[in-house]
Symmetry: C2
Subunit: 311 residues, 2 copies
């Protein structure tokens, strides 16, 4: 066995399942994506995944393990998918057991945000740190926690759900009854809706497509004051949740990825200013704020990296 064997990373999404062969932190081959919603049962979708895996193994005989990142609650130790947020029928599916029985390979199954965080920690922006908070900003806001040089999963493997933490104890009611959940303010859709309202309040009618995070970033770069104010507010709200992580965990680095983070300096400058204004010395003097190194491939690379640990 080589120091860094080939592994397969599977990024299971609500729209598509992406399967790739990974060497260290590089995708060296990837199969055409599988359309998630075309399969009516987990069994059929797993069978399709296995066919792709076996095709890739035929091309790359050295593949030593499989890692799967799932968009929902996963029991990492048992390799069990509790349930998925946006894919029907996936309740209590023993995915690791099934994939292992069919392929004979070691398999790990992990939450997708934890896969992304693991990729950033092991091979990306958070490399070399012992204490990292990873935040993924997209339609959902997810995360992962590394402390004492270990992934923190908690009692039922749910840890890292920074998007569900509250920034306002009297705030908007969230999906789980939680008031003021960060995701309900800075998730992709909520950013768009809030900007739409802000433009209207300024007497400017915009279509929703003109209020997405990408559109807001473009407008802010042209000096649009409404868009600039939105990025300040987004950075401020994100900073509150990150500040809570800092007081609780005193990390060395906060790594931010996901589509919304593509706004770059617009987000990071505001975020860092609001964050550092609310921390004392030992919490900020050495704190690094870092954009994620991997884009949409983070989940695949992280799942494959976790698979290497299972060999």
């Amino acid at each position: 066995m080589s120091d860094s064997p080939l592994t397969i990373g599977i990024d299971f999404g609500g729209t598509s399942v992406k399967i790739a062969v990974v060497f260290q932190s590089h995708i060296i081959d990837h199969a055409p994506p599988i359309a998630t919603q075309e399969f009516s049962s987990p069994e059929e979708l797993i069978a399709a995944m296995v066919r792709v895996v076996e095709d890739l193994r035929a091309k790359h005989p050295g593949i030593a393990a499989i890692g799967v990142g799932m968009p929902g609650f996963v029991d990492f130790d048992a390799g069990l998918v509790y349930n998925l947020t946006n894919v029907a029928g996936w309740t209590a599916v023993p995915l690791r057991k099934i994939l292992h029985q069919v392929t004979g390979l070691p398999v790990i199954v992990e939450n997708d945000a934890n896969c992304m965080g693991f990729a950033e920690w092991k091979c990306g922006a958070g490399r070399g740190f012992q204490h990292v908070v990873f935040i993924s900003m997209g339609t959902g806001v997810g995360g992962a926690i590394i402390a004492n040089g270990q992934m923190i999963r908690g009692a039922r493997h749910g840890a890292g759900e920074i998007g569900q933490t509250s920034i306002d104890y009297q705030g908007r009611p969230g999906h789980y009854g939680n008031l003021g959940a960060l995701e309900d303010y800075v998730g992709n859709r909520e950013i768009t809706a809030t900007a739409h309202d802000a433009y209207r309040a300024a007497g400017i009618e915009k279509a929703f497509e003109e209020c997405t995070p990408a559109a807001l970033a473009a407008a802010a770069h042209l000096g649009d004051p409404v868009a600039l104010a939105q990025w300040d507010a987004i950075g401020r709200m994100l900073a509150t949740a990150a500040m809570n992580c800092c007081w609780l965990l005193n990390p060395e680095a906060i790594v931010i990825g996901g589509g919304v983070a593509r706004a770059g300096e617009l987000l990071f400058k505001s975020f860092q200013a609001h964050l550092f204004a609310q921390l004392s010395g030992p919490f900020k003097d050495h704190l690094r704020i870092l954009p994620a190194a991997f884009g949409h491939e983070a989940g695949t690379i992280g799942a494959a990296a976790l698979a290497r640990e299972a060999i």
Copy 2:
């Protein structure tokens, strides 16, 4: 060396320094407290502490190590006191080195809330769990985090400061510029001030002494509606900060101690109801909410327990 040797636990407070001999989780002897403010320099106070330690060692020859809990920022690895919140002159004091040189014993120096959390985790209410959040509610609101069966101290040993986490991103400005810090709502003084205002708003004039947490607990037990509403609000705000810990760390147990927690069911019932209403299954199904096992001796017992780990 026996399995559980005698160690000395020192609870260094802003008012007094308490020094005791501890066997397992029991204080078997304690010296008269030292009045902290009677000493004008760290050197003089440390000399007084050493005299007490040597007296106790003369009585108990088996003492094998010393643990000190300090009310401020401490570098646990270096045994260095960065600074203390309420005691002048204690800046960058190499306390472990000094105590070790004079006594010849292994010494650990730790933040006081971490000592209390360690006591609860190793010998108290949190015993046997791998993932624990400890919250201490007094004049200050402090805490400690145990994850993966380890104390989480973070990059600069600051972790566990739950009282500084925000429950409102637009809330009251706190000591470190942090907006909406939990401590600024449910610290002893803030509870008293808020209750005083609430009584006045209800047309009832009360002295501040009649609005303390202890007085509010007594009034609530007699059915006082203002006091009952205060306990509901305190439980609700505490639940928000604890909920954030749950989404981030998915603990098995939350242990709550400190003077305010002496309100018992008044606090715990409200806290648990608000907390469980804002968590999904994997975060609450097995979650235990526990009152701390140790009272004002938690710091001493925890410092002594940490000292045992240093032998």
